[in-house]
Amino acid sequence: MSALLDVNGVSKNFKGLRAVQDVSFSVTQGEIFAVIGPNGAGKTTLFNLIAGVFKPDQGAIAFTGARIDGHSPDEICRRGIGRTFQLVRPFPTLTVRDNVMVGSLLRRHERAAALVQTEEVLRRLDLYDKRDVLASALTLPDRKRLEVARALATDPKLLLLDEVMAGLRPTETDRMVRILIELNRTTGLTIVLIEHVMRAVMALAQRVLVLHHGAVIAQDTPAVVVRDPAVVKSYLGTEAVH
């Protein structure tokens, strides 16, 4: 299978700070790919580069074979990459349903058709019962699922999830993992996720990329990466390895 997302030699500096250094990896269609590493390793910057918030100083990013680096975030979403934010950004005065409608309306311009898809997505993410609640009144786990639902409503081929498990209790984490696995299995959605919660990474990811100080220090299956000495030293600590 050809690569859906191809990141090639990408670097980004911020006023002398090298946030991302010469990072390369590819993600194949239907894969679940995780990006891990200590805080400040450049993971979110990498996502922002892919999603079009920043333009790489060097390197290229290709999606379905076409270059996307330097394009605007809305253009990249229209091309099929959906993303969530590390600190969730719901539309506070809109209901759960209306939040997701905003996403659905991207591909379905008619209100009625968008509503149909919105309700489908809400059911998938276990939010249908709360569809009339204002987003500002939701608990954190619900907001996280709303964030995913909204991005999902744009019919992405690739979903970028930025620390979507952060702040969730283990039962909530398992629920989210179940939903993501289900999505990947039934629709073939490709998922790239940044995660600190190793429980989720081990359950979800087929391959893992490890970043440290902006550079790649390991890239392999979870089992291998978790035992990599460099990874253990810089991030995981010996407790993570049984």
Partner: protein, 337 residues
């Protein structure tokens, strides 16, 4: 299209709207001229408030210089009538074009260069001030001495040239107010309306959902400015004189936004309720002051200021949302899950 405008309104809402409309339509034969002129003013503010609300309440862009667009519409139509005898409904087209174009310039400058929030508000003030001073020197439209429309004795109402007694203007303005309400409802419930609200709430998140925020904001500004200029045309033909110092003055811009803010920004009924409350109370106050023999200039404005502050403090979302909830007319669900 019809479902956009007419669907999802609770029965109570229909009843309220129809009753209100019928009552208002039946006023002129039974009321004196004073009441009619007050209501014309209310409808005017309801209309301009709706137009302003598109930019602020829907798309989240604070404009403090909307008098700019009123003035452009007014001057365009009036000048064409005075110099070339072109009727106001044709002149209105010119007014809308000019106004929308200027709005596009303001929007383009602001959005391309990332000017938002308070800075955007100040930019809009600057344009209105620029027009106020500029038109003072604009000889062709009368400069600071003003532009005057010929006032003749009317035996009958001439709707085409907007020459007539207050009752004719009453129905014209009422029609415009209703049209604005319909248009705004359609816009709010359309794809564009959703996108505007998303931009208003969180522009960054909106972009991540594929929304071209620049284009959507531009459309909001263009529609808002074009719509506002329509009121300007009627204004010109109603009062029959225009002075740059008054027409473009910042106090006129503030008057326009008082209604929606007091009534409820971002709602459809808010600007209308706000216009009624504000104008009604203000005229009521004039009565009270007259009976108390206080004729000091400025007293009415002090009252305005106090009202404004009270509403802003006690009802930060305006009068309509709590009122709607109390009357069971709300489309929005309650806050609790």
């Amino acid at each position: 299209m019809t479902s956009l405008v007419f669907a999802d309104i609770p029965v109570r809402g229909w009843v309220a709207l129809i009753v209100a409309a019928v009552l208002l339509l039946l006023v002129p034969p039974f009321a004196n001229d004073y009441v009619i002129t007050v209501l014309v003013l209310i409808f005017y503010f309801a209309f301009t408030g709706q137009a302003w609300n598109i930019m602020m309440g829907f798309a989240g862009q604070l404009s403090l210089g909307h008098a700019f667009y009123v003035g452009l519409g007014a001057y365009a139509a009036a000048a064409l009538y005075v110099h070339f005898g072109i009727g106001p409904w044709i002149g209105m087209l010119a007014g809308i074009l000019i106004s929308a174009w200027c709005g596009a310039v303001v929007g383009f400058l602001a959005f391309r260069f990332g000017v938002g929030g308070v800075y955007f508000a100040i930019l809009t003030i600057a344009f209105a001030e620029f027009a106020r001073i500029g038109f003072d020197h604009f000889r062709w439209v009368g400069g600071s001495s003003g532009l005057f429309l010929p006032v003749a004795q009317f035996k009958h109402n001439d709707l085409w040239s907007l020459r007539g007694n207050p009752t004719m203007f009453y129905y014209v303005m009422f029609g415009l107010m209703v049209a604005a309400l319909i248009v705004c409802r359609a816009l709010l419930r359309s794809r564009l309306g959703f996108y505007w609200q998303a931009i208003r709430e969180d522009e960054h998140a909106a972009r991540a959902l594929g929304i071209n925020t620049f284009r959507c904001k531009m459309i909001a500004v263009v529609i808002s400015s074009g719509m506002t200029s329509i009121a300007g045309v009627v204004f010109a033909f109603y009062y029959n004189n225009l002075f740059p110092e008054q027409t473009f003055h910042i106090s006129k811009s503030i008057e326009i936004i008082l209604g929606p803010i007091i009534g409820g920004i971002g709602t459809l009924i808010g600007p209308i309720i706000g216009a009624f409350v504000l104008t009604g109370l203000s005229e009521g106050l004039l009565d009270v002051l007259a009976t108390l023999k206080i004729t000091v200039p400025g007293a009415k404005q002090v009252f305005y200021g106090v009202c404004l502050i009270i509403v802003i403090i006690l009802m930060p979302n305006g009068i309509w949302p709590p009122l709607a909830r109390a009357l069971g007319l709300t489309e929005r669900p309650e806050r609790k899950p």
